[in-house]
């Protein structure tokens, strides 16, 4: 479904991604693990067209997307829970959800989609008229997830969605990501929480200093020396 072929990305003179190749099949739950500063967020921004790769190509369902603009890529069924959530602080919960469906704006089933999100996160229903800025960290995480689901994406990108959440919420979040994937959405999950991530992922990639240094099934990654040493601390 998603494929990167030797993608390199630079910010000015600094090369952040070096010839990154990876593929995520339809229906898969793939993960990208890597330490701070490895280039994980840059990879997400590159997929979305926020930054353009200097070389290599990105493919979505067999079509090349690395020369498209972000809104064109999103229109092809990609949604994201960005790093740091990036909610619209002065918009209400409901307006944020509406932004999640921006591409279609007023789909016939808008109410059904919103109510589906409310059923997943009842707290959001209670706070629908409240501005996003006034919500707790956990509620903001829910809203970011709900917002991403509003477009009924085929590919969901998640950039460290568990960051800053209490352990109970992290647990819930991972269960939800798994459920979303099981309902048919392809998921590409960027995380630092390797243990939890490898419990739900089918397969994954390791990114270090902008390079893919490992790839394989979740099972094999859990066993690999590199992961055990660098991420699982066992």
């Amino acid at each position: 479904m998603l494929e990167l072929r030797e993608v390199s990305t630079r910010y000015g003179p600094i090369t952040v991604l070096r010839s990154v190749s990876l593929a995520v099949g339809a229906g898969q739950l793939a993960c990208l693990l890597g330490p701070n500063g490895a280039g994980k967020t840059t990879l997400i921004r590159t997929i979305l067209g926020i930054v353009r790769p200097v070389s290599g190509s990105i493919w979505l369902d067999g079509a090349r997307i690395d020369r498209l603009r972000p809104h064109q890529i999103v229109a092809r069924g990609v949604a994201v829970v960005p790093e740091g959530r990036r909610l619209f602080p002065k918009m209400t919960v409901e307006e944020n959800l509406r932004m999640g469906a921006f591409i279609e704006w007023a789909p016939a089933d808008f109410a059904a989609r919103r109510d589906h999100v409310f059923s997943l996160f009842p707290r959001l229903a209670e706070r629908r008229r409240q501005s996003a800025a006034t919500m707790s960290g956990g509620e903001q995480a829910m809203l970011a997830m709900g917002r991403a689901l509003m477009s009924r994406p085929r590919l969901l990108l998640l950039d460290e969605p568990s960051l800053g959440l209490a352990p109970v919420l992290v647990e819930q979040l991972f269960a939800m990501v798994q459920a979303i994937n099981q309902s048919g959405t392809t998921v590409f999950l960027v995380e630092q929480n390797a243990r939890k991530t490898l419990e739900i992922a089918h397969h994954g990639f390791l990114l270090q200093k902008g390079e893919v240094v490992g790839a394989g099934s979740a099972e094999s990654l859990r066993r690999s020396e590199l992961v055990r040493h660098a991420y699982l601390r066992t």
Binding site: L48, I50, R69, P70, H71, V74, A75, V80, P82, R86, L87, F88, P89, K90, M91, E95, R98, M99, G100, F102, I103, W105, A106, R147, S151
Partner: protein
Amino acid sequence: MPPLELLLQQTLNGVMLGVMYALIAVGFTLFFGVLDVIHFSHGDIFMLGAFVGLSTLLGLAVVGLRTPLLALPPAFAVAVLVTGLVGVGAERVCVKPLARSSPLMTLLATLSLGLVLRESVLIFYPRGADPKPFPQLLPAGGFEVGGVAVRYENLTILAIGFAAMIGVDLVIRRTRMGAAIRAVAQDPEAAQMMGVNLDRTVDATFFLGSGLAAVAGMLSGFYYGEIHFIMGITGGVIGFSAAAIGGLGNVYGAIVGGLLFGVLQTTAAALIPRGSEFRDVVAFAVVMLFLIFKPSGILGEKSVERV
């Protein structure tokens, strides 16, 4: 102490002026919202709107459309459309390409563009150096309540001005493009991640803001009875001040700031001896006090200190 009627009268006059200032200020604040820039040629866009409106009215008169109902709607439409497109052109040529470089570059580029607009009217408009009489198409006459003279012409200006503001408010709060504008103002990258077309949204914002300035330009023509190629300098400074008082980036703040500035000017004229000579001094002194004591403006959240 001046009589109460005089104060009321001046407040009414101030609201009149304030509506025009507000229409200019909304543009400044919208542009700052989406691009974090001050578009210093916006005052000259306002002037251009007045001249496009005037030309259209004169053209319509030639083909026999002289009655208000036949002439005003097309004149406003043409002025908004043409000025809006010029605003988009200005943004594409000298605002957005520089928005990511130093604010000084944008300052220089937009100040220069303002000069070009002024000089163009001066040179290319027939006898461009002279003030141009503006056709008086708004209803004449009026009435008096409690010693305050209310002219139909002024009521019409108020009605058109408020209608324009309500229209913009509806666009911003209720439409898809309005949501895009608000989203870009709050977080451009997140907006793009939701599928917002950044370039188109910035274009739409400049079209909207410049179109409003054109409405202000025409109202100014009706109010003063004439327009002049340098009217954009004062108009721009006042509109910018109004936006700053209200808090840059906040549309309602800009409206409040515009009305406040207008009322300050006219009541200063009534309250202070020889006040009509000092009205701008008083109004701008208040602006400076605002900038010193509340730099984020009445309703502002975005701090302007970083500019």
